[in-house]
C-alpha cells in the first residue's frame, strides 16, 4: 500500500494551476487530471500527523490527517472532480482559480495550524471571488468580498488575541492550553466564530450568499453553495469541537445566533418563489442547524449532516443552475413542468430534495433520525420540536417546488413548454451522470447507512461532553 503525503493534495493543484498558464489550450485537461489525481491521492492517504519543514509540533505547520479530515477530503474531492467534468468554454478561464480553490479547500481541511488556516481561508476566498466574477454580477461579488474581508479580519483579530494569551498557533497545543485555563478567551472565540460565520452563511452575515447564489450557474452554485459551505462547516466543526473551549454563556449566545438563522432561513425559503432562492435560503437555514449541532456537542451528527446536505445541495444547485441557464430564469412559473421532458434531472432533483427534507429511503432521513434521537437522549425536547417544526416548513416548500417542477402547466396537453435541449452534448450528459450518480448514492446510503454512520462515529467518536454517540442504524438497530 502506498503511503502518500497529504501535502500533495494541496501542492499538486497549486502547481497545476500555475503551470496551466503556460498551456492554455489544454486547460481542461489540467482541471480534470488535477482533480482526478487528487482523488487518487486522497484514497491512498494514511491517518497521522505530517510535519511541514521538519519542525516538531507545536512549532511549524503540521497537516493533520484523521478520519474526519480523510472522509471530508474524500467527499470534497469527489464532488469537486465531478464538477470539473462539466468544464465549459467559460470555465476554461477559471481553471487556475478552480485549482487554487481546490488546493485551498484541501488545505483548510488538513491544516493543523490556526494561522495557516487563515491563509487558506483567504486563498479560498480570493479564488471564490474570481470564480464568482464569472457570473458577471460584480456588485454582488463586491458584497461578498467586503463581507469576506471583514470576516477574515475578525478571524485574524481573534487569532491574534488567542496568540497573545496562549502563545501558540498549533491547534492541538492551543486546545491543551485552552482546556487548562479557558478564562479570558471568550472574546477571541466569538471573533473567530463571527469571522467564520460569514463563510458558513450564518444569518446576519450572509447577505453575500443571496447575491451570489441567486444568480449562480451550474458551476458556481454547487461550488459556492455546496462545496464551500460544506468545507467551511467542516472547519467550524473542527475548530469548535476539537480546539476551542467555550463556557456555557458563549455557547448559548452563539446557539441563539444559529437558531435565528435556522428559523429565519426557513421562513425566507418558504417565501421564495425561485428555485435557486429557495435552495440558498434553505442552505442558510441548514447551516444554522449544522452550526447549532456542532456548538452544542453533537459533532458527529453535525458532520454527517454536513456531508449529506452538501451532497444533496450540490445536486440541486447543479440542476437548478443548469435549468435556469437553459430556461432563462428560475422562477417556478417559468420552470413549471420542466421535469416532464427531463425525467432524469427530475429524478435526481427529487431524490436530493426529499433527502434534504429528511424523507425515508434517502440518506437525509437517517441523519435526521439519528440527530433527533441523540438530542432526545439528552432529554432535550424543545430543540427537537423546533428542528421538527423547521423541517415541516422545509418539507412543505421543498415539495411545493418539486411538485411544481413536475406538474404540467395549466391548460397544457402533452408536449412541453420548457424543453431542456442541452447546449452541448458533453455538458448535458455530464449533468445527467453527475446528478444521477450522486442521487443514487443518496438512495444507497439511505438504504444501507450503517457504514457511513460508523465512519461518522469514528471521526467524531465522543462528543465534547464525553457522551457517547448512540446511533440508530438500519442493520443493527440501536447501538452505542
Amino acid at each position: 500500500m502506498m503511503n502518500l503525503n497529504p501535502v500533495l493534495t494541496i501542492a499538486l493543484p497549486l502547481i497545476l494551476a500555475f503551470t496551466k498558464i503556460m498551456y492554455r489550450r489544454i486547460a481542461n485537461l489540467f482541471l480534470i487530471v488535477g482533480s482526478l489525481i487528487n482523488i487518487f491521492v486522497v484514497m491512498f492517504l494514511k491517518e497521522g500527523q505530517y510535519l511541514m519543514g521538519g519542525y516538531r509540533p507545536p512549532f511549524g505547520i503540521i497537516l493533520q490527517v484523521d478520519t474526519y479530515a480523510l472522509y471530508s477530503l474524500l467527499v470534497l474531492n469527489v464532488l469537486f472532480a465531478a464538477l470539473m467534468l462539466l468544464v465549459t468554454k467559460k470555465a476554461e478561464n477559471l481553471t487556475s482559480s478552480s485549482l487554487i480553490a481546490l488546493a485551498a479547500l484541501n488545505g483548510l481541511i488538513l491544516t493543523g495550524d490556526l494561522f495557516n488556516l487563515f491563509v487558506f481561508l483567504e486563498i479560498a476566498t480570493i479564488a471564490a471571488l474570481i470564480l464568482v466574477s464569472s457570473i458577471k454580477k460584480y456588485h454582488q461579488a463586491f458584497n461578498y468580498m467586503v463581507a469576506g474581508a471583514i470576516g477574515s479580519t475578525f478571524y485574524l483579530l481573534g487569532l491574534g488575541l488567542l496568540y497573545k494569551q496562549y502563545g501558540t498557533l498549533n491547534m492541538a497545543r492551543m486546545h491543551e492550553l485552552m482546556a487548562a485555563s479557558p478564562s479570558g478567551s471568550a472574546v477571541a472565540v466569538i471573533l473567530i466564530f463571527i469571522g467564520l460565520a460569514v463563510e458558513i452563511k450564518l444569518m446576519p452575515f450572509s447577505s453575500w450568499a443571496a447575491g451570489v447564489l441567486k444568480n449562480a450557474d451550474e458551476w458556481i452554485g454547487p461550488m459556492i453553495g455546496a462545496i464551500y459551505g460544506g468545507v467551511m462547516m467542516i472547519v467550524v466543526g473542527r475548530l469548535f469541537t476539537d480546539i476551542f473551549v467555550m463556557d456555557a454563556k458563549v455557547r448559548l449566545m452563539l446557539s441563539l445566533l444559529t437558531l435565528i438563522t435556522l428559523v429565519g432561513g426557513e421562513a425566507a425559503a418558504f417565501q421564495s418563489r425561485k428555485v435557486r432562492e429557495v435552495l440558498l435560503y434553505s442552505g442558510v437555514a441548514q447551516a444554522g442547524l449544522e452550526a447549532l449541532l456542532i456548538l452544542n456537542g453533537y459533532p458527529a451528527i453535525g458532520f454527517i449532516l454536513v456531508l449529506s446536505n452538501m451532497t444533496a445541495k450540490y445536486v440541486m444547485f447543479l440542476l437548478a443552475g443548469y435549468m435556469a441557464e437553459e430556461a432563462g430564469g428560475d422562477d417556478f412559473d417559468r420552470l413549471t413542468g420542466v421535469f416532464r421532458s427531463n425525467p432524469v434531472h427530475g429524478f435526481a432533483f427529487t431524490v436530493a430534495g426529499l433527502s434534504l427534507a429528511g424523507l425515508p429511503l434517502f440518506f437525509g432521513f437517517i441523519v435526521k433520525l439519528n440527530l433527533l434521537y441523540n438530542l432526545m437522549l439528552s432529554h432535550s425536547y424543545w430543540l427537537p420540536a423546533l428542528i421538527l417544526s423547521a423541517s415541516l416548513v422545509e418539507g412543505i416548500y421543498m415539495l411545493r417546488m418539486i411538485l411544481g417542477l413536475w406538474r404540467l402547466p395549466e391548460g397544457h396537453r402533452g408536449g412541453l413548454q420548457v424543453r431542456i435541449l442541452g447546449s452541448s452534448h458533453r455538458r448535458k450528459y455530464a449533468v445527467y451522470t453527475i446528478s444521477m450518480v450522486l442521487s443514487l448514492a443518496l438512495i444507497l446510503f439511505g438504504l444501507a447507512p450503517d457504514n457511513a454512520l460508523s465512519i461518522a462515529r469514528r471521526a467524531r467518536g465522543a462528543d465534547t461532553d464525553g457522551k457517547p454517540l448512540v446511533l440508530i442504524t438500519m442493520k443493527g438497530g440501536i447501538g452505542q
Partner: protein
C-alpha cells in the same frame, strides 16, 4: 497604547465600511481596517526594551531578549493577502464602473 491605537484604526475602517457607499471609499476603508489589524498583530509580539529577533554578530545566540518574531511574519503574509484582496476589489470596481457608469453602490442598487 499602541494596541488601542491600532484597534481604533481598525474600527475606523469598519466605520468607513458601514457608512460609505462609494466603492473606492469602501476599498480604502478596507485597507485602513487591514492596516489597523496588521499593526495590532505586530504590537502583540512587541515587548518593551527587547531587541529585534535578528541573529547578528552582536547578538549571536541569546533568544531570551528577542521580541516575538512570529507576529511580524504573520503580518507579512497578511499584507500580501491584503494586497491580493485589494487587487480583486479594484478589478471589481473597474468592472462595476464599466457596467453601471458610476461607483456609488446606492445609486447602482437604486438603478437595478
Amino acid at each position: 497604547m499602541m494596541e488601542l491605537l491600532s484597534l481604533s484604526l481598525l474600527f475606523l475602517g469598519i466605520y468607513g465600511l458601514v457608512t460609505k457607499h462609494h466603492i473606492l471609499k469602501m476599498i480604502v476603508s478596507l485597507n485602513v481596517m487591514e492596516t489597523g489589524l496588521n499593526l495590532f498583530i505586530t504590537t502583540l509580539g512587541y515587548q518593551e526594551g527587547q531587541i529585534a529577533p535578528i541573529l547578528s554578530s552582536q547578538f549571536p545566540s541569546s533568544a531570551l531578549n528577542f521580541v516575538d518574531p512570529l507576529p511580524q511574519s504573520l503580518v507579512l503574509t497578511s499584507i500580501v493577502i491584503g494586497v491580493g484582496t485589494t487587487a480583486v476589489a479594484l478589478a471589481y470596481a473597474i468592472k462595476i464602473f464599466k457596467d453601471h457608469g458610476c461607483l456609488d453602490l446606492e445609486k447602482i442598487e437604486g438603478r437595478l
